[in-house]
Amino acid sequence: MDSHLKAKELLEENKTFIEKPNKQWFLKVFILAVLICIGLYALVLQITKGHLITGMRDNVVWGVYIVNFVFILGLSYAGALIAGIFHLARVEWAKPLQRILKLITVFALIVGPVYILLCLGRPERLLNLFLYPRIQSPITWDLIAIMTDLIFCIVYLYFTYIKDFALLRDNSANLNLYGWRKKLYKFLALGYQNTPEQKKLLNRALDIMAAIIIPTSIIAYSLLAWLFGMNLKVGWHSAMTAPFFVLSAVYSGIALLIIIMWIYRKTQRLEKVFTDNHFLYLGFSLVILSLFYGYFYFSQYITDWYNIQETTNRLLSKYMDFSQYGIHFSVAIFMVAFLPSIIIGVPWFRSINSIAITSVFVLAGLWVMRYLMIVPVLETPYLPMQDFRESWVHYSATWIEWSLTIAGIAICVLFFVVASKLAPIIPISEMLEKKGENKFVIFYKTRRKLSKG
């Protein structure tokens, strides 16, 4: 069957999800909007009453907001990194996952940095970072990295949509769409007609973007890690921080990808697209990453444990003390380092649903591990804390912080709901490209020379 006929067939199968929205769609948007409004109310309260209504105090100056910032940016960089690698390595089975990965990247990169603004007591002073940047400061590095990555990722996402916009433009007559959407597809398709020259140009642009997105993501997340690693604080000051951050990001990105795939498979009946094999391959990746995570964490822990410094011992004892963070630590480390090996590793437990549920636990566990990396460390300074009230020493998030956290998740979900209405959640055109049709731009000439030789 010709590729354009296959494309039409795939578009026909998925047209209900991109055509004019129904009541169910509006209900989803309404629920998400309510959650976002609660978050906005909390934000207004926080701005008018100050940070006193959050759990953050002089000593523990970072709380749930910074945990969300680190965690969500990790998901973003993971999305970019995995998408870039899959694209450049021409992984055929991973083609249907490309769009989800790129959407995770962009949406997380938009929402994540908002949490750093919520941490600021005087957010208007953020402007000074642009007016008076110091190239020596890891905060400036991170600012440059996030801005660069955001621009690159938005443009990369758009490039991957061009073929599908052209497909929608050419088939809009058969679809029940609003008039403005037809005009939008025509404009965004950039006159793409799938001629060999156009295809070559677009594929080269995609290859270049994929190639620069991979190092950009690794550098950007490493820079974020160095915000912690460059601190002389116990628990942060380690050469392991950046590699550990990147590993955690990829791990959480795969877990989120499985969850989103599972949701779309269930709600849009995409069993033919997101097949059992996708879940198995990504599930096994989770097992491998969980073992790596366990190894990295153990390596970090035992190095710290051998350190006889008093402050280090105080911090580590908090992770083992069940009256402090013992329960959080035990449950989280079980979820991230052992659970995938048990549920996905043992065939008896393994199923599509169990892989998805394990991913939910892994994601939750990784969030808690981020929390444990930040809050207990801030509660354990080198100098003893004196003349402080209890609430200054022990951090406890308030409903303001939780509602803004939920609002952030709701915004990401809302973006997904809107994006999957605007265009198919699977890259139809890309999926239908024949194997070997899209030659890899960087090694193309090298391969030709080799074959001649």
Binding site: H4, A7, D58, R134, I135, Q136, S137, W141, I144, T148, I151, F152, V155, F159, I162, K163, A166, L167, D170, N171, L190, G191, Y192, Q193, N194, T195, E197, Q198, L201, L202, R204, A205, L206, I208, M209, A211, I212, P215, T216, I219, M230, L383, M385, Q386, D387, F388, S429
Partner: protein, 300 residues
């Protein structure tokens, strides 16, 4: 059949009871509005410059339901023998807090035992009950001096009251916290207690970091004493170890005024490389529009 009027009567009475009498009673009760109890907390503190501070919190409820009362008028009075004399009137802020700072030169009248009393009164309103609270304190003086005996650095603190004829009277058994001022809070070094002469001493450690000439600010504090309230005294001395911060900056270029050359070059090479390829990719995509065939290709 005879029983029927009885049932009707009973039902009617119950109806009247539930739908007229009980709601009427509840409404009547609601009309007599209960006033909410208010509470006051008053603290006395003598500041480092010898000014006196009266801190007040006016609130309703307790525990998690505790809520400050905003913009309430508080009348402060003091007692000269049996005569009550008004000091001033102040208002609470949004959290129910109010504060009065009295200059050191103002002398509070004392009773026969040497105590001064400040009374804070809140007169209440339509919904809030009135409240009042007294705080009683003695005016204790704290002096800090430094001496070196046999190469040992000693901080000496003396505590005394001024009697009615103006002579200092040493006070024994006063517990004092001694510390040094750090960036965010005080680092406490020791707790001492004054002897019969009203004097307490403490050996100053050799390893406390000072500024570029070794100056440190020694803080002596009495915390919430039953008789004297909270008293803070501060005095500077160059007993700290000298920390030359300019050298620190040179050694750790990350915090220097100028970024090292390798860092500037690295950042610009990485950014230029990334942005060059980014612009190249955009250029290629924009060319798609330019080479759009005029005769439509087979639809996608």
């Amino acid at each position: 059949m005879d029983m029927k009027p009885k049932y009707i009567l009973t039902t009617a009475l119950l109806f009247l009871f539930f739908f007229y009498y009980l709601p009427a009673k509840t409404t009547a009760a609601a009309n007599i509005q209960k006033k909410t109890k208010t509470r006051l907390k008053v603290y006395y503190e003598k500041l480092a410059n010898s000014d006196k501070k009266i801190s007040i919190i006016l609130f309703q409820g307790t525990g998690k339901k505790m809520k400050g009362i905003e913009n309430a008028e508080l009348v402060l009075t003091t007692f000269d023998l049996d005569n009550e004399r008004q000091l001033t009137t102040i208002y609470t802020d949004a959290n129910g807090n109010a504060m009065l700072i009295i200059e050191a030169k103002y002398l509070f009248p004392k009773d026969e035992r040497g105590y001064s009393v400040v009374k804070v009164m809140y007169s209440g309103n339509d919904s809030l009950k009135a409240a009042q609270k007294k705080v009683k304190f003695m005016d204790l003086n704290v002096d800090v001096s430094f001496e070196i005996v046999d190469s040992i650095k000693l901080i000496t603190v003396s505590t005394f009251e001024i009697d009615s004829i103006g002579n200092p009277k040493p006070i024994e058994g006063v517990k004092l916290n001694i510390g040094v001022e750090r960036l965010f809070s005080t680092l406490y070094l020791s707790k001492i207690e004054t002897n019969k002469k009203g004097i307490g001493t403490m050996e100053f450690p050799e390893d406390i970091a000072g500024d570029s000439i070794g100056t440190i600010n020694v803080i002596v504090k009495i915390d919430d004493n039953d008789d004297y309230g909270t008293i803070t005294k501060a005095k500077k001395i160059n007993w700290g170890t000298i920390v030359d911060y300019s050298n620190v900056s040179e050694n750790r270029s990350l915090f220097g005024d100028e970024a090292p050359l390798w860092m500037i070059i690295s950042v610009f090479v990485v950014l230029a490389g990334a942005w060059y390829h980014f612009i190249l990719a955009i250029y290629k995509v924009l060319k798609i529009k330019k080479i759009e065939p005029k005769i439509l290709n087979e639809p996608l």
